[in-house]
Symmetry: D2
Subunit: 478 residues, 4 copies
């Protein structure tokens, strides 16, 4: 499972994450705001910068947004002031820079049709173009988020809400799992490529919708079905109905969700994440069978793959690396010497496990390589005789424009270095990356479409949508 702590110490991993979000919605439940609270708490790994909930009792909205974790943003009884049977919630990523409450979601606004609340996970690729057009027409923008662009498109159309949303969806390009709430309806939409995960569940006489299925268990809902690419689902007093807003859909679900981002107890497109990771580990063994004494994974997200490798290899799986559960977001780092020690506050190698051993260290990915290098060094200092680094995904060589911020090509070590050069950089005895084909096969979705129905653009550069030139230079949105 991914972990906010990574944001602090793992500079590699920090980059990967900083545009993700999580969304959760409820229709027709007396405890809708509480369910939403628990729901976004279960999605906390998808964003730690801010959290928000907006509910409707059929007439008016009540809402709260705050900075930090869900439990921090709602630490003052704010939940008790949110009422209604419809509710949507959002958790937003952490950034290195100044994070602002203004950017927290759900975004709430008033327009000629009444009140609207929007929660969005993903990244549009033509937001700048649309924003430019809207400004030309006199619109003002108070945030930098893509969500405000969608709000303007809905309001500008002058249509009834369902048509207005549909109209907006036809204009935007990119990745989006979108929740729109009016006083009386919950509207759910997924982009034509289904780049982000989004699932529907049932609870009592009502419905829930969530970025990941792990939230269903927490709130006591039952999995119902996936939201389909290019589908808009309207839930109101007439029940749930589905519309297609795009005729050209082809699933290209983000493979990084399986590799790293999602919680292991979630099923993404009905494939369990932990088991997919275990298969990634097995496949890794088939592609790179290394002789060694112990297999260890970098906690937490690489544990499943490590278990899979160990099982397939018949080599013992061990806790060779331990994570301190109390690592916080802020550290004092009084001296340079101390700063170097700082990384050891988070991870430690277990000497008695690795001493004198040939160690296979499984990690899910390498972005910049710095952290991997530190972990290899830590294992060596603890006495490891050999350290073989096996990565359960291919080299990340291209930026992501859909919400997983792997930043510019310059920072991606695999964009400029060969595998052998990376091995040298991180100081490993050997280094192997899983092949793209192996990864797709291991994830195990039997989808006849391109790349097995996954987006693997960061690995092979095949983007499932058009990419605008402007977007390439400007990707700082959620």
């Amino acid at each position: 499972m991914s972990d906010r702590l990574d944001f602090i110490e793992h500079d590699d991993i920090w980059d990967k994450l900083n545009e993700e979000c999580g969304v959760f919605g409820v229709y027709n439940h007396p405890d809708a705001p509480s369910l939403t609270y628990y729901g976004i708490h279960a999605l906390q790994h998808r964003g730690q910068e801010s959290a928000g909930i907006c509910a409707s009792n059929g007439e008016v909205f009540t809402n709260h947004r705050g900075m930090g974790l869900v439990t921090e943003a709602f630490n003052n009884n704010e939940l008790s002031r949110i009422h209604g049977h419809i509710s949507i919630g959002h958790v937003r990523y952490t950034t290195a820079g100044e994070s602002k409450l203004e950017n927290a979601q759900p975004l709430i606004f008033k327009y000629s049709g009444g009140n609207l609340a929007l929660a969005h996970n993903g990244n549009l690729v033509n937001a700048d173009q649309i924003r430019y057009q809207l400004e030309r027409q006199g619109s003002i923008f108070q945030t930098t988020s893509d969500t405000e662009v969608i709000a303007h498109l809905i309001s500008r159309s002058g249509l009834e809400i369902e048509e207005a949303v549909k109209n907006a969806l036809r204009l935007i390009k990119g990745a989006y799992a979108l929740l729109v709430m009016t006083e009386k309806k919950l509207i759910v939409a997924l982009d034509p490529n289904g780049l982000r995960p989004l699932s529907l569940g049932k609870i009592g006489d009502g419905y829930v919708v969530s970025s990941e299925t792990c939230a269903f268990d927490t709130v006591g809902a039952k999995y119902f079905r996936e939201v389909e690419p290019g589908e808009m689902v309207i839930i109101d007093e007439d029940g749930l109905r589905s519309e297609r807003f795009s005729g050209q859909t082809q699933r290209a679900i983000c493979s990084f969700e399986y590799v790293y981002f999602a919680r292991p107890d979630s099923d993404i497109a009905e494939i369990n994440v932990h088991l997919a990771r275990k298969r990634l580990g097995r496949k890794l063994f088939l592609e790179a069978p290394i002789e060694a004494d112990v297999v260890t994974g970098v906690p937490d997200s690489s544990i499943s793959a490590a278990i899979g490798y160990a099982e397939a290899a018949g080599i013992p799986y061990e806790l060779g690396l331990i994570k301190n559960r109390y690592v916080a977001r802020t550290f004092i780092q009084p001296t340079q010497e101390m700063r170097a020690r700082g990384v050891r506050m988070k991870l430690s190698a277990v000497r008695k496990v690795v001493e004198g051993k040939r160690v296979i260290m499984i990690d899910d990915s390498i972005v910049r390589g710095t952290t991997s290098g530190r972990i290899v060094q830590m294992l060596r200092e603890a006495g490891a005789k050999e350290v073989h680094v096996l990565i359960s995904s291919p080299p990340v060589m291209n930026p992501c424009y859909y919400g997983i911020d792997t930043s510019s090509r310059e920072e991606l070590i695999a964009a400029s270095k060969s595998v052998e050069q990376i091995r040298e950089f991180i100081g490993a005895d050997s280094l192997y990356f899983l092949s793209t084909e192996g990864m797709i096969e291991a994830i195990g979705r039997h989808d006849g479409s391109n790349n097995g129905g996954h987006c693997v653009a960061c690995f092979n550069g095949q983007y499932p949508t058009e990419i605008y030139e402007d977007t390439k230079s400007c990707t700082e949105k959620c």
Copy 2:
């Protein structure tokens, strides 16, 4: 590894913990306060209520104590105001009731010999008796901690500091890993039974001392040796020297440190905790070989034993239970229905892993049984066909008077119920506890003394020290 989150949701586990602490000290290092900060951070799992550091520059003390985690107590640049080359630190347990800054350590006081700072892990069994005597003689007490009792004894003696400490140690009975700092010295002592762990390390030209060795790696120190039972170590400008304050010593190290409490990357009495737990899992298989499809452990403390069992049994080890990394100390629980759901905020069963399977669930211990019951139910709801609960320690039938608060006998389910009755209570298909002999053998200390040199009083009632009647009714100290 144990985890503060357990305190909130796991009522079973809460009880186990609430009297533990962690201590860390440095002698002769220019960054002594920073090292101590990192040291007690590495010991955070031993106490989350409060944290404190006191340093001496050879002339005067500077110090700070605060509530909460180390990063919370020192969140305001307080560390930068603590200076010196000698330093001691302390983390204190969390309690359910009101926790007070007054009880935070190190305890600092002034007496005729100058300034003293004390940090203490453990629990005295004759503190009430001594306190009564001291009050008769006119002493006043501002806290309820045993540490204040020790301070009075030192001050009252009128002796030079080393003799004064030695004199005090001869009067107190029970469990203690004690650090005493004067302006110029660091004095370290362990009770005659060595009930609590305490290790010495070297760093540069100086020394460190820590409740657990995991802190040595964090600060860059090298393990030197254990503090011996009944030993007082004095570190000052003449170097390190050892004295025995008790002739009757016999190691009886707390077996719960191995089973549950210590960090897996620590070596307790030179035995690695993770490997000891893995052996507990193997031994559990030898004693109770169950036929099943998957083995899963309750995270985080039972993972090692689960891996050990799975390896020995040749059954796949799986992540059948996932822990949410973002569980905070405070939750809102608006309705009763929500409260029941609350436990699912912390743990969830992975349906695709356990559905239709015969599951072996390894846990380290059962205290009250409520949490175990909830986890079994969670596994069944996720579709487990059978749930076999295997515990990597014997039934806890007796209270601990040495700092692990397993409370009164009334709350210990094993004190009043048979194994079969407990099985029924938690709703498992079968339940097995490791035997005391098996546990001792698996931990693997080759110590000829009683119970292999462990305290197993909570399992078999054989207390290594005298127990005073009064103590039995009053154990709320650290």
Copy 3:
């Protein structure tokens, strides 16, 4: 001087205030953000709910907004992150209900012309009408503030900024002292009636603008001149130039600024507030010469009038009522009995001053009458033989639509009760209100226009602008 503490305990006074704000701006000073910080701090009495500063360095904006007092909103070094030589700031009123950061100003937005920041004191009377039109045209609104309406009007025009602002000013009606900042300009405007105060000052080679002149002394600026009704002042690299956006202007400055709201050390339209209040007291004596032993004023805003009355009457002025300087915004009020005592936490009568005396108690106004009644009772309990209440303004009988929220007519005691009925309600021996003519004369502006150039609508119902029906039912904006 008015006082935030009033908001808590004085329910009368609370109502009076809750739509006021303060604005401050700087053009061309290297310390512009710091000057703005000190400036809005000096205007703190005009609003305690939130504070914000936005600066431009000629290229980009930096800003911060926060809840609470200026020192609370900027308690974390936020000021150090705001840079530029142009800057505007805002303090916003406190409300009883939930106050939101979303409503804090300056409002910052992006439109086709670049970035704009707006800070506004006052209340528009046709905001709802404009908002309705804008929504029809597809605009979305994220706040309920009039300022957002102005922002849309500016953006919609498609004109260059100066023309765009002028165009917007011609569309809005009501009270406004408005600051508009672009990357390179500071634009300042006052409504055609000059209902709110707004003064220009000079500092070094730059300019400052402030709701009240008291802020000039604090920052070391010199008073330059008033902004005229219907005037738009543009300050940029070409210096300061003035334009008239309205041909029909007639000053109608809010008389309540003199009576109650402004700081005594401010000059409003070049009339010093303290001296005006003293003249109100003198005039009160001329209209109502009461025989008594002592004159006392309700602190802090009625002290000046009380001194004036005492001087004119030749009766000693005494501190018969003392205000506790430490009254905070939040109180615990455990029991009903305690709640009644709560009011005594703020004010107390000085027994030795009033005991056995005939007391004249000067207050600046009566809105609902509850607080006045409590103070009269307090004086009686302290032994006052007679309590004569003299009010240095006429009875408030009509709501204010320009930013001083005297709420609906139902809550105004003078709207439904005669002076004699009010006297009975508050339990005074006699009660007298200053006449409207007397008030105008005493303030002392020698302006030939209607009501001496004051708005006295709340006293006599003569509103200087058109009032829209909708506005009457909806006045909750700033």
Copy 4:
């Protein structure tokens, strides 16, 4: 009235204050903790560093202590957890250095007789000597407060509580207004010179005791009588009884309480503070009749004296100096230029009042002279033609050992400079200090004893108690 804000900006005034405290107690009232909360809130001007309340329900104590103002220390519903019909509370001064919760009162401790809580206002002159003796006998000290010394003396005696307190009182020298609470009794004592104020009141069937009578009005109690010098009052289920613990008593009440420290609505030794100050102003006129146009006082503590002077002189009293009510404890001061401006955030001169005028500025005292100089400059910059500074007390030439910290002689400007030199230093046209005799006469206590029953040691060096050499060099206690 004194004001916490002075601590920040007025370096003169800061010094005066930093050892004062306020105490309040209740016996036999169902709302004792709430009454105590309101009581210490009314005494807030006597100390802003920390606040605490301890109550007894006849069996056990409940208590809370926190940093900051009463409303800050009790901002989290802590009051609701304090129960009992007996209660004592304490507010403690602010210091420039690090303030610690450890030093907050009431001090609570356990001794052979049970539980005791102590709250103390004043300063002992032989605390160091007693502390030395106690340490010799093996006592440990955890704070630097005199109160802990008293606690040890009570505990050491081995006597019943009343005798034990009496015994302790006979050993300590200096200034103390002391409250001692046991499970069932409230014991109140005042030093033999009655240096600090302490009054008894009645409420229902119970009693209250307070440093100042202003707290009685707040809680609805009636003044009963003064606690006499050398008197110990015991209040328990047998009612209230009085004992004398010292035969040699002579009132020497601190004259600074009248001049500066106490609230104007308090009666100190049955003399109202506001009226006393007014008489100080009148007497000042008699001693120094200056020809001028306006009289103004430095707010808040010099307002009464200014009114008295103005009345006697027949010169108008004006608000020539205005205090910003929102000055907080912490300010950002980004540049040196800004820092100089900082003082203007607190006080401002009213130009229209002083311009072209001969101004008499009344202040209550001058300690270091820096602030006075700044205010004179401020008046001149606002256009004052002449500034005559008249001080309503004599020059402070000697340190206070009884709790008013006027620091060492070096910092007292009057200790090293003549009146003419001080005048020059502060830049006034003339400067006059009230004579000691005039001050005593004006306060108006008709007490035949020395100095009219006042302590005027800081003015004339006649200390009413013995002063120990050690004390002179070490006065940092409360």
